[in-house]
Structure formats: C-alpha cells, structure tokens
Symmetry: C2
Subunit: 204 residues, 2 copies
C-alpha cells in the first residue's frame, strides 16, 4: 500500500462497506450515489476512486465488483495482518467476534489476560493466554501489532510491558493516553469523540 492520507483511507473503507453490503447484488454504481449516501461531494468521491485506478463507464458508472476489488487492493486487505488482543474482557470479546476483520486481512491470533479464570479458555475460537507469555510469543512469531482492551487503570503498565516485549503498533481502545517511545505508534480508537461529534451536529 502506497502512503495515502488517513482521510482517504477512511473514505475508501466506507465505500468498501457500501459496496459490500448496501450495493450487494447490484452490477453498477454511480459516484453520485456513493456521494449521496455518505453525504460527500461527488467530485471528491471520483477523485478517491481514481486513486484506485478504476474508470467509470459512461452513464452506468462503476462496476461494483471491480471497484470493490480495487479498493481491497489499494488498502491491502489481502495482506495478512497478525494481531494479539490484550485484555479478554467484554470489548476484547466483541472484537474477536467481529466477523468482518477477516475480510480486511486482520487475523487475531490470541487474547492475553492476567485473570486465571480466563487463561486457557477460548473466546470466539481463540485461546486466552497468560500475559506473562507475551514476550516469548512475540519473539517466536514476530507479532508487532496489538489491540489494547484492558481497563484504563491498567493501560499504561500493560503498554510498558508490551513495548518491552517488542510491540510496535498499539490500537488503543482504552480511554487512556499512552506514554510510548518514538519508535512505537499508538492509534486511539476514541469512541466517545464520535458520540460528541454526533451531539455537536445535532446542535449546529
């Protein structure tokens, strides 16, 4: 995947969702229809799609299957991305069960937790492993991505440990801002922010 802006990634992912579910079974789609459904400017949609190297057909628009595959290629959905989930609570469980991850190449290998009642059990077909084993597993199978779903009070301590173990990318679902070395990237899944944006839209 060549570097494209986060905004474009965000929109292309939404177009893909649209083609996958909303337009399922439809042969063609016009950029204006995508624009309308997502409340975007038509010219912006066409520009994004041009980035994927897809050309529209006059009158009929884009071939749905072709456009869907081009987005998958552009965003690298077929490249397997192995991740561990740290925190086998209800959010960790929900993410393991999020069936769509597979279609994006996101492969959750295991969950980690320090609760003896959870260790050794399976959640959504994945094993819950003791957090103590993280270091060993990372060095054996060279995983650099984790999804962090521990309680906020534990987030920094677990992060320090994970970074020591060799983790380089943290997809952070906790409401905690993490102190990490410059070599580590944190992505904040800032859930509450979306809600506040929705509320703000309701007033504006």
């Amino acid at each position: 995947m060549t570097a494209i802006s986060n905004k474009v990634i965000n929109r292309l992912t939404l177009y893909h969702c649209l083609l996958k579910y909303t337009c399922k079974g439809k042969p063609f789609i016009a950029s204006s229809e995508i624009a309308d459904l997502l409340d975007l400017d038509d010219s912006l949609v066409r520009k994004d799609i041009a980035l994927c190297g897809v050309l529209g057909h006059k009158k009929q628009g884009y071939v749905v299957d072709e456009l869907k595959k081009s987005i998958e290629q552009k965003l690298g959905f077929s490249e397997r991305k192995e991740v561990f989930i740290i925190g086998a609570g209800s959010l960790g469980t929900a993410l393991v069960n999020y069936a769509d991850f597979k279609d994006y190449g996101i492969d959750i290998l295991a969950l980690f937790d320090n609760d003896p009642n959870k260790i050794g059990k399976e959640i959504g077909g994945k094993r819950v492993v003791s957090l103590e084993k993280l270091s060993n597993l990372i060095s054996r199978i060279n995983i650099k991505n984790i999804i962090l779903t521990v309680p906020p009070q534990a987030a920094q301590e677990v992060t320090d440990y994970a970074v020591q173990c060799g983790v380089r990318f943290i997809w952070n679902f906790t409401p905690t801002v993490l102190r990490v070395p410059k070599t580590v990237t944190v992505y904040y899944e800032n859930i509450v922010s979306s809600f506040m944006q929705m509320q703000n839209a309701s007033i504006a």
Copy 2:
C-alpha cells in the same frame, strides 16, 4: 455546546482522557507535555485550550483539574444524553459495560434485540427489550439517539424501522453504510479504517 469542529472535539476528548488517567494526581501540566504525548504541535494544543477559556500559569502550565473541568463544560459532558442500544450481541454488551460512558453523560437506558433468548434478561444492569417495543418507548420517553450494533445484514432493515419510530441520530458500529432521510444523522464508527491508518503509518 457551541459548534466546534470535529477535529477539535476529537483532540479535546483526548486531552480529557490524558488529564483523567495519565496525569491523575498531578497538579499542573504544560501544553508542551500534552503536545508531546499526543504527537501534536504545541501551538495547536494551546489554541484548543484557549477555546475552553483556560489560561495557563507562567512556568507551571495549566491547573489539571481546572483544565479538565473546562473541557467537560465545553463538550457538555454534564448534559445527560439518553441512548438506546439496538443489538444485544457482544459489541452491544461491550458498550453497555464501557464504564467511562457515564462520565461523558452518555446514559444507556436499555438494549433492544429480537432474540427471544435475550429479551427480558439484563446486560450490565440494563434490560434487553423486544425490538417491537421500540416505537412505543421512543414516543413515551422521547429518545432520539441509538447505538446500532446489529449484524451488518440486518442493519438497513433495523435502521428503516428505527427511523420510522422517530430515531434521529444513529451511532453506527456496523460496517454498513445506511440509507436514511436527510433529517437523520448517521455517525460511522469506522473501526477498520483506524487499523488501516495504523498499517499505512507503518509503511510510510
């Protein structure tokens, strides 16, 4: 809350997380420390904070408690925002259990589902109600916000029904782009997009 841009809302929410957890117990914080932790420009942080009407003290920076309260006021965390969750699966369960929602004024009143095995039970202290009762409950207690966590294949049908029932704001956790009338606002919690952005950063 006066209208502020989504980017500012996003950053202010992160500053708030930072003050709440990362800086817990600290009396002061400098804008440069916030900027550093979130990999932002110092001047941007100061501009955002100025929007909240808080002035920093020379040398010491901002009073943590004061800044935290000002962000809460600016973003309207103390205003109660009542919501229903539609879809009592693992993601709905995770969101009910997301303790931090309360601090932002987000009050989940009930979950709705059409699974007879779930209806009548409680999840995280909230009742699971039959989806058939949505119309009646909305007209009785005038709720306009829903969190949508149904399977993607059911998302459009449930949305059509919810809109008919009077729902006006949909916080959409499904990977489905929804067709709604112009009077309805959909917020996409585009989970996969964040992951793709993280991957993109790892290549760039």
